[in-house]
Structure formats: structure tokens, C-alpha cells
């Protein structure tokens, strides 16, 4: 068990990578064997992440040096390279890891029945596992260049998955847009990495943060990183790819692409808090992120209101709810230089933003899955052509209600808990922020009322008389995310204290992150 704990971080990345290459070979043994194999692998990854979490909450930051005699030997002796390639997992990394692994597991289980009649399933599951690798890798790595590599893995597999059902023209368009956006963003990250490497001869995040001078080149790198990662996390003004990519993504992959989007957002937080910290002009960057958040909220929700495609509507809410996370964490960044304000409400704002990341990964994942379930059974995503599905698809209807109430912030569901934390904290910075956020929340409720009313209520439509409930594996996939949502709703303080505050504190504790690698911290 000790050995497993020591290697858990790398195994969580390496095992799905190994399994991804093995999937085409396992696929030769039959579809059933392959499906079981993929689900077992992802369940094991979830287990590894939980083992890692237990270690981190007990012993602090988990450091793993690749290829070293001992996992803690990050700084080599008699060796040209100043810092070796490391994985550094702190409270934030493992928090995002739990989210990614859970969503991946639910998405894979959901996909089994949903993809049954599609061709090229071996490739589908290979890509699905690679996407998991990218999501976990980007969270766990302590090295900027590896971050770029994992970003590429995440982007390419995500784009291929979004375009998977090539018989739909919008799938090809969505995948292509995602590919272009991701490539441009990844190259910006690479350029920023090059700027650091040229100046400091370092690639390790902690080591760069340690010697950061905040020169003009560093400012350019900061702008590149923030813009690239804001684009990847679907914030306004670079949100336009989100609806096109999420709408056609097949089966259980739209929640996974969403988790990947959140992984990029948390990487942006990592850059702001850990790589730069108080050395940058925190008020400017903080307010920029707050404004991007407010715009995302408002633009996302107003665009969502007028959609008639059920998944497209949900995709616009991805942008809108992403704004809450940006707002919460942005407030934290804005007061980073002021210890008093930070203690009074900054920490809570960051925790609220991160709590919303977790909640939203689960309930928006659930909603995207119910949208896909409607498409699976009805063959259309157009809300105007649906009706009365609450009769035939009772489970889907129930899951949708849980998700819709949670996303609208209706108490006692978890969306309310995290939004309340953001409201309370942002009110102390500027009351206008809270007013806009609450208004957006009401508009969210309005648009989901519309979906519920058009899809699930109303008289039975003759053309959908024969429609049945979705198969077991799809119910199970939705059930995992609904269960997670309800669990957080029932025990919000337990979840917040156990995993959300450690994640927020990990962001605020820059010295701890540096010290774990450089020593003396």
C-alpha cells in the first residue's frame, strides 16, 4: 500500500495511457471485453486518485520525480539539469483530479450503450482514455513543458472526440474549431514556456516561481498564458468555440470535454497564484479576470435563453457558469496583495469559485448527459419538436430535474451552496458583482424551466409514443454524477472543509509549492 501511495500520481496518468494503446488490441477480443476493460481501468484510476488524496490530506504536497532513485530527489547532483521532471500534486491538483476521474468514469460507463451502434469504437475508447490522461496530467505535472504536452494530448483527443460522429456536419465543424483554438492556445503556452526557459534556464513551475523577476518578457508570458488558458476555459471574449464543440460531442464525452475545460481553467489559476503570485500586479489581473467572468456569465446566459437545441443551450450555460468560477477566483486574485482582505473574504472567494468548479462539473455533466439521452432516443435535439418525455423517460427526467435545480442555485442543492459563497465574498469587494451574479442565476433558472417544460411536460406526442427509457449503462453513468451532486448537496460543509478549502489554501500557499521542490519552504 505504501508503494502504491508513493507511485499513485504517476500511475494515475500512466495506467490510462498504457490502456489507451492496449485498447485496440483488447478490442480484438470482442466489444464486451473491451468495454469492461476500459471501465475497470477508469475505476482503478479513480481509486488511485483517492489514494493520492488521502496521502496529500495527511502529509501535504506529493512530489514524484520521474526516473530518480528516490521520488523526492527533484534537484539532482552531478547533473546539468537544475531541476528534474517532476509531478507535484497539491490540494488543488488532487481536487481537480477527483473531479476529472469521476467524470471520466461516468462518461465511459454512459458511453457503453450509447455508442453500441457506432463504428470505430476501439478508437473512441482509445481517445477517451487519452483525454483522461491529458486532464490528469495537466493537473499533476510540476513542469511547464510537460504541461504543454498534456495540453496537446487533451486538445487533440478532445477534438477528435467532438468530431467523432463524422456523419453529422456540425460534428466536423465543432471538432475542427476545437482543434484550431486548442492549437493556437497550446502554441501560446509553448511560446510563454520558451520565454521563461530563455531567461531562467528553467522549466519547473516551482523553480521559475522562485526566481521570477517579473521582467517585460515575464509580462508577455503572463499575457500569453492567461489569454491561452482563458480561451481554453471558454471565457468571454473567446467563448465562441464552446457551443459548437459541445453540441455534437458524442455520448459520454461532452462532460469529459467539459472537465478538460475546467482543467485548463484551474491551470490558469495555478499560473496566476503559484507561478506569479504577488509579483504581478494582482489588482489589474484580478479585475481583468472578474470582468471576463461577469461578461461570460451575462453573455452566456442571454445567448442560452434563445436556444432551441437542448445541448447547445446547455453549452451556453457552460460559458455562463464558468463566469461564476472566474468571478470567485478573480476576487481572490484581486485582493492577493492585501492580507487583511484576503483573510476576510479572499480565501472564501477562491474556495467558492473552486467549489463551483466541482459542483458544476458534476451537475453540468449530468445535464449534458440527459441532453444526449434525449438525442439518443428521439434523434433530435430541437426542443420545439419534443414533449411529454417525462412519461416515457422517468429516470432521465428525474436526473434532469436534479441538474437543473442545482445549476440554478435552488436551495438546498449544491449549486446554491457554492453560489452563496461567491455572493458573500464578492459582495465585500463590490456589491455590483453580486447583483449581476444573482440576476444571471435567475435567468439560468428561466432557461432551464423552458427546457423542462418543452421536453418533459405536456401531452404525449404521437410520434414519440414508442420511446422507452435509456439503457442501464446510460442510467448508471447519469446516476454517478447525480449521486455526486446529491452527496455534495446533503453534506456541503463536509465537502468544503475536507477538499475545497485545502484546494484554495494550496493556491494561496505559493511558498509551500515552491518549497516542496526547492527545499527550505
Amino acid at each position: 500500500m505504501d508503494a502504491l501511495t508513493a507511485h499513485s500520481s504517476i500511475l494515475a496518468i500512466a495506467i490510462p495511457l498504457f490502456a489507451a494503446f492496449l485498447t485496440p488490441l483488447v478490442g480484438k477480443l470482442g466489444a464486451r471485453t473491451r468495454n469492461v476493460f476500459v471501465v475497470v481501468v477508469l475505476a482503478f484510476v479513480e481509486f488511485l486518485v483517492l489514494v493520492l488524496a488521502r496521502d496529500i490530506y495527511a502529509n501535504g504536497i506529493h512530489l514524484y520525480t520521474l526516473g530518480a532513485v528516490s521520488p523526492s530527489l527533484a534537484i539532482p547532483e552531478h547533473y546539468m539539469v537544475p531541476v528534474r521532471i517532476v509531478l507535484e500534486v497539491d490540494g488543488l491538483g488532487v481536487f481537480m483530479g477527483i473531479i476529472s476521474a469521476t467524470v471520466a468514469l461516468a462518461g465511459a460507463i454512459y458511453s457503453i450503450s450509447c455508442m453500441k451502434h457506432e463504428t470505430g469504437q476501439d478508437r473512441f475508447y482509445t481517445l477517451l482514455l487519452l483525454l483522461t490522461v491529458g486532464m490528469l496530467g495537466i493537473q499533476f505535472t510540476g513542469d511547464l513543458f510537460n504541461l504543454f504536452v498534456f495540453l496537446e494530448i487533451l486538445s487533440i483527443s478532445g477534438a477528435a472526440l467532438a468530431a467523432f460522429r463524422t456523419r453529422f456536419i456540425d460534428a466536423v465543424e465543432g471538432g475542427f474549431k476545437y482543434l484550431i483554438v486548442s492549437t493556437v492556445a497550446a502554441l501560446m503556452v509553448l511560446l510563454a514556456t520558451g520565454l521563461f526557459y530563455g531567461q531562467y534556464n528553467l522549466l519547473n513551475i516551482a523553480a521559475i516561481a522562485d526566481v521570477m523577476q517579473y521582467t517585460a518578457l515575464d509580462k508577455i508570458a503572463l499575457a500569453l498564458l492567461i489569454v491561452a488558458l482563458l480561451t481554453k476555459s471558454g471565457g468571454v471574449p473567446s467563448h465562441w468555440w464552446v457551443p459548437d464543440t459541445y453540441t455534437p460531442a458524442p455520448a459520454g464525452t461532452s462532460p469529459m470535454i467539459y472537465a478538460a475545460t475546467l482543467a485548463c481553467m484551474s491551470t490558469m489559476f495555478r499560473v496566476a497564484f503559484t507561478l506569479y503570485g504577488v509579483k504581478m500586479s494582482v489588482a489589474t489581473i484580478g479585475w481583468l479576470i472578474i470582468i471576463a467572468g461577469l461578461l461570460s456569465m451575462f453573455v452566456g446566459v442571454t445567448m442560452a435563453l434563445r436556444q432551441t437545441d437542448v445541448k447547445r443551450l446547455m453549452a451556453y450555460h457552460v460559458i455562463s457558469q464558468g463566469g461564476y468560477m472566474l468571478l470567485g477566483v478573480g476576487v481572490g486574485i484581486a485582493v492577493l496583495g492585501d492580507p487583511q482582505a484576503l483573510a476576510a473574504y479572499g480565501r472564501e472567494a477562491v474556495a467558492g469559485g473552486l467549489f463551483h468548479v466541482m459542483n458544476h462539473a458534476f451537475f453540468k455533466g449530468l445535464l449534458l448527459l440527459t441532453g444526449e439521452a434525449l438525442f439518443f432516443r428521439l434523434g433530435t435535439r430541437n426542443l420545439n419538436r419534443m414533449g411529454g418525455m417525462g412519461r416515457n423517460m422517468k429516470w432521465t427526467c428525474a436526473f434532469f430535474l436534479i441538474g437543473a435545480l442545482a445549476i440554478s442555485g435552488v436551495p438546498p442543492l449544491n449549486g446554491f451552496a457554492s453560489k452563496l459563497m461567491i455572493y458573500e465574498a464578492s459582495y465585500q469587494l463590490n456589491p455590483m458583482l453580486t447583483i449581476i451574479a444573482m440576476m444571471v442565476s435567475i435567468m439560468t433558472l428561466a432557461s432551464f424551466t423552458k427546457v423542462f417544460q418543452s421536453a418533459f411536460t405536456g401531452p404525449e406526442l404521437p410520434e414519440y409514443k414508442e420511446v422507452r427509457e435509456v439503457p442501464l449503462s446510460m442510467k448508471l453513468g447519469m446516476g454517478i454524477l447525480a449521486g455526486a451532486t446529491l452527496f455534495i448537496s446533503l453534506f456541503p460543509s463536509l465537502v468544503v472543509n475536507t477538499i475545497v478549502y485545502p484546494a484554495a489554501d494550496a493556491l494561496l500557499n505559493q511558498a509551500g509549492y515552491i518549497g516542496a521542490v526547492m527545499g527550505g519552504g
Binding site: H7, F18, P24, L25, T65, G67, A68
Partner: protein, 152 residues
């Protein structure tokens, strides 16, 4: 293609393929490595396709074989990384062993290929993956475009 192109391709292809394999095998002591050598090798395949047409090349180079080779390369690479797990992931456990295990003395030397531990083997794995992947891409694109030509 014309007879000139085909004759030259016949002469050059073995040399290109051999050079690709050389770059892969010497990746740990000279510039190059798995990716570069694999790309050189795949360019030899591309030359064959240009000279003789995708249809003839496809007779002895099937797409599913290439995808098996590609998966095999990936598995070998990660397998080697896993093999060091007793110490650490990616640990170079072959240093000092009979396979690629020489530890050269400090300072310049004429180049001992029998060094590097797992690194040359990983180059081979990457080389397999790149040879298979790039050849498959070139082949599939050539086949698709030649079929398109028939339609018109």
C-alpha cells in the same frame, strides 16, 4: 510515374529506409532519435507511394498492420517506463546491465552505441510508432485522393 522516377526510387528507397533505421538506433549518441528516424523512414514509404502508386504499396502494407505496429510501439515505450517502477517510473534500470549497459568514461569518446540503458530501446519504440503512424497517414491520404481521382 515515369520510368526515371521509378528507377531512382528503387535505388534510393533502401538507402532512405536504412538511414531512417540508423537515425533511430543511434538516437542516443548522435543527433536524431525515434521521431526523426521514423519520419525519414516514412518519407521513404512516401517516395514509394509517389513512384508506384498507393494501390501497389497497399498490397504489402496494410493499414491494420500499421495500426498494430503503432500500438505496439506505444506499449513498448510505456512498458519500458513501467519496468523501472520498482525504483521510479522511467527509472533507467538497464544501466550496468548487459543490454545497452556500458557507462562511458567522462569526457569525449568516439561514440559507444552500447550505452544509454533504456533510452535506445525507447527510441526504437518511438521509431516504431512514428514509422507506423506517418506511413499510415501518407498511405490513407494517397488512397483517398487516388479514389477521388477515379470518381471524377
Amino acid at each position: 510515374m515515369s520510368k526515371i522516377v521509378r528507377t531512382v526510387a528503387k535505388l534510393l528507397t533502401p538507402a532512405i529506409l536504412l538511414f531512417g533505421l540508423y537515425v533511430i538506433m543511434h538516437g542516443h549518441i548522435t543527433p536524431g532519435g525515434g521521431f526523426q528516424g521514423g519520419a525519414v523512414f516514412a518519407s521513404g514509404v512516401a517516395l514509394l507511394i509517389v513512384a508506384f502508386g498507393a494501390g501497389r504499396v497497399e498490397q504489402f502494407l496494410k493499414e491494420h498492420q500499421l495500426s498494430m505496429l503503432e500500438s505496439g510501439g506505444g506499449l513498448l515505450f510505456i512498458g519500458l517506463a513501467f519496468a523501472g517502477l520498482a525504483t521510479a517510473f522511467f527509472y533507467n534500470f538497464l544501466v550496468g546491465s548487459p543490454i545497452f549497459g556500458h557507462v562511458p568514461a567522462f569526457g569525449p569518446n568516439p561514440g559507444d552505441i552500447w550505452t544509454g540503458g533504456t533510452i535506445p530501446l525507447m527510441n526504437v519504440a518511438v521509431g516504431m510508432k512514428v514509422i507506423a503512424g506517418l506511413s499510415a497517414i501518407v498511405l490513407v491520404m494517397a488512397l483517398a485522393s487516388s479514389k477521388q481521382g477515379e470518381d471524377e
